[in-house]
Amino acid sequence: MPTLENYIPIVGQAVIDDLRRISEKLKGRVIQNINSTAVGGGVAEILIRMVPLLKELGVDARWDVIKGGAQFFEVTKKFHNALHGKAEDIKPQDFGVFMETSQKNIDELDTYGDIVYIHDPQPITLVNKRRDNKWIWRCHVDISSPNNEVWKFLKTFIVKYDAAVFSAPSFSQELPNRQFLISPSIDPLSDKNRELSQDEIGAVLEKYGIVNDKPIITQISRFDRLKDPLGVISAYQKAKRYADCQLILAGGAAQDDPEGMDVLEEVRKKCEGDPDVHVLLLPQDDIAVNALQRASTIIVQKSLKEGFGLTVAEALWKAKPVVASNIGGIPLQVTHKYSGLLCRSIDGAAFAIKQLLNSPKYAKKLGENGREHIKNNFLITRHVMDYMLLFLALYHTEDTIYL
């Protein structure tokens, strides 16, 4: 696991010095992170790196995971989709299932932190246990146009928190709580983002039967309707009429996402008979993801809704030209025509793919600008700093704080 020293060549000594100075101010406080899964998905991925770095800085950060069965996660997946604004058939008994498991977690999980940091809706009800400690609800979901019923239900818990944290300004809601903006981040030294040798990249392509003899368009995402994998296939098919290319759709499955297999089947059916489409259900293999991104000519993220879209940051960090939807946190990462191309439709995505395939110099420039933007704004060191400032802000009400 990389240490803070390892980040100095990337972000500079001064940034690490600032992290150390700020961490001093949090000595003696226990920060307890709680989420719903230890592996899979963006939240776990961030915590796996964030918690050790905070510990190295001397901050007593810990991480607990709630328990839940298949029924509970089916309901929370429905909630997740509904918060994203997708039509979902939410039944009264769904709230019952949610509360039953939640109550078990309330009974069994010790919320010992001086600051309890709850990630996403699954563990949201734990706030009913609050005493004189501080509570933060971290929303990783795009809730710019949520289903009203689910939002109203969750809001009864959210208002009990000291603060809510969102990934994009448009996700903020009218709430009595303080609301903060903290974008997620990528770790440049993780297996998913570190430099790879040509041999390592070649080995992954070989393993998955991909021949690098024509441009590769890739979307790395869970098989989830909100990631619109079927739309990606359509865009690829339209672009391929004019520029020969191949498509990789690769993603894993998370423990709290039960509908992934159905979507995977739909995807396989849609591209049946096209040997240039590679649908890969990956096990948790970060080096494979890294290699596929690095082998790609263009990275696509054509989501219909997106909490943030860290795969965009990952691609840009590798200086890859990106075609991505103009939604959620993606426009924070991509400035249209400057550090990537934004789209709003299948036709828009197809046109952008075609444009980048035909203009490699332009594509290269977009990728380089994107890498610089990620370096300055979306690396884990900035994220660690934001978290520490957030924890400190809970103990202050003024806008200028002298430490």
Binding site: P169, E174, Q179, N376, L389, L403
Partner: protein, 223 residues
């Protein structure tokens, strides 16, 4: 060879740094009238955030117009002329956030008066203007300079956030009339010429790295 004597300062310059956290106010504007209404009531830290955020986020890329209002009015409302007027507001001439706020308000008001059709233009929730504010954490870096040689040495290695604090934040947000560097050089080193040449810079037209280089170049002439 006689070594040039470096003048010692009456008081050392203590480098501070400033770290920033963005807080969402929950206020959103969907059209120019909504923008105007919010501009009048948001805290100063919000006006500061939206007129200075660009400086830090795009510090290494290009000297962007440091103004979220101009960007939104141009790209989400389609009012290019107003966008240009807002982005050309000469921030460096103001000594307080409130003065800056009044100019932004009057610029939007004149547009609404001269072009009634502008009132009708609006945007959706995805593109609404979300008012935020900056929470600043100010802390000493533990580094200080007793003369210009030490000053330049530290300036070369100090974080960009420290330079940002001493040039922008202390002048406008904390209400000093000049930047911290010029103040120290004039009062502790009695070098008014150098102090003036730094305070005459328009820091809003540089990237922060270019600004660092320019100040180092100016100070180095006196070492």
């Amino acid at each position: 060879m006689v070594e040039k004597e470096i003048k010692k300062a009456k008081e050392p310059f203590h480098f501070h740094t400033r770290l920033n956290l963005s807080e969402l106010t929950g206020l959103k504007a969907f059209n120019l009238e909504g923008l105007l209404e919010c501009l009048k009531k948001v805290p100063e830290s919000s006006i500061y955030h939206h007129t200075h955020r660009f400086l830090q986020q795009h510090q290494y890329l290009s000297p962007e117009p440091p103004n979220d209002f101009a960007y939104w009015v141009t790209n989400s409302i389609g009012e290019k002329a107003l966008g240009e007027n807002l982005s050309s507001i000469d921030t460096v001439q103001f000594n307080s956030i409130d003065e800056l706020r009044q100019v932004i308000i009057s610029t939007v008001e004149s547009c609404l008066k001269s072009d009634p059709a502008a009132k009708a233009r609006s945007t959706d929730n995805n593109n609404a203007f979300c008012f935020m504010k900056s929470i600043s954490f100010i802390l000493p870096t533990g580094r200080s300079a007793g003369d210009l040689e030490e000053f330049v040495h530290i300036l070369k290695n100090i974080s960009i956030d420290s330079i940002y604090f001493h040039i922008f934040e202390s002048r406008l947000r904390i209400g000093k009339k000049t930047n911290d560097f010029s103040y120290w050089i004039e009062n502790s080193l009695e070098n008014k010429k150098l102090a003036d040449s730094i305070s005459r810079l328009d820091p809003y037209t540089y990237t922060l790295d270019d600004l660092r280089g320019t100040i180092i170049e100016k100070v180095s002439k006196y070492i």
